[in-house]
Symmetry: C2
Subunit: 210 residues, 2 copies
């Protein structure tokens, strides 16, 4: 088993933090996405979709969706529980995890991918068709990402964690997004006391350096 | 309990098909999204995010992410299993469900929202900030949606279902997306025999008219 990884990128980081919280160690291999290594013949032989992270299983099967990789390990290592237990918890964790992705991660990624030189002709990830940058998406992405920050600030009022009353994958996605936002110069300020305290709590967990 | 619904829209349809497959009935109320009813004070009092579908629980709590609503009912009504059982099955279903969303649903939605008059100033859903249409997104969305069709055609070679060897939520998302694609005049042809056969199988299920 091997995890194809890129230390700086947000999606692989979500998986590494998840594994650290579960206490699971998986051999890792670094892939240079900006340099195009994920589109090299050698990498495409492992994962024809050219995505990172990719979990390669012993029998050659692969998983390349971060949340699918996390769910795989969650079934094998149920504790600590990171996806919720009751119907409400599981739904609330799923809902907040997806909000952090759709409102945070995707908005920041749109802003980043459509302004970064390395991705000028790679508007979509992996082996999706080459598409030129759409500058208007950077502006829209930043607008939506700021809205996500404002909503997250409200959400964290009186809450220690994003979804339920303990640490879950929703916190992982939120925390990783807050650091990813710095890639597009989006930073929290004194108007985000709840987020800043949340970020400090997440950073204090040993998993944050995974 | 009540499900706020819009019969024609793809996300509410995913939830209705899921409920039909589970044999669960939930009272529904129609919401006119193109007409802006989801942004009316009455609706925002129920769900401040202005999203549809929204599941309103007895105690006033709400869920407004389709997959979160499905997971809620999945815990309460585990059979028939629609999210996978083993670690591999759960991961594979999650992965394919997300591929259908990210490559299919989101591409079609981008093409539709950035070309439909009713959404000229509503580039993002619900109460997200108003953003003008970005015409380039329609072209990119169609390109990526066509790529999704080609990949799905390959995926269905020798397979009856999208993810594993029985019906799951990944099939629901794929089927709903194939119908949603018609909103942007994207249709399969004789070059998609596997998809056409899949669509016919899904349409033959009683849940398809839910």
């Amino acid at each position: 088993m091997k995890l194809y990884d890129m230390v700086k990128a947000p999606n692989p980081r979500r998986v590494r933090i998840f594994l650290a919280e579960k206490g699971v160690e998986v051999p890792r291999q670094e892939v240079d996405i900006p340099g195009g290594e994920n589109l090299s013949p050698a990498y495409l032989a492992i994962n024809p979709r050219g995505l990172v992270p990719t979990l390669l299983l012993e029998d050659g099967r692969t998983l390349d969706e971060s949340m699918a990789i996390c769910r795989y390990f969650d079934v094998l290592h149920p504790e600590p529980n990171l996806f919720g237990r009751t119907a409400w918890e599981q739904a609330e964790v799923e809902q907040l995890q997806r909000q952090m992705e759709f409102e945070g991660l995707f908005s920041i990624a749109a802003a980043f991918r459509n302004s970064a030189e390395a991705y000028a002709t790679r508007g979509a990830a992996g082996t999706m068709p080459a598409t030129p940058s759409i500058p208007g998406l950077t502006e829209r992405g930043l607008l939506l990402a700021r809205h996500w920050l404002d909503r997250l600030e409200q959400r964290l009022e009186g809450r220690e964690f994003v979804a339920i009353d303990r640490f879950t994958v929703a916190d992982i996605t939120a925390y990783v997004c807050l650091d990813f936002a710095k890639w597009v110069n989006l930073r929290t300020g004194p108007e985000h006391p709840n987020i800043n305290a949340f970020h400090a709590r997440m950073k204090a967990r040993p998993s944050s350096s995974a």
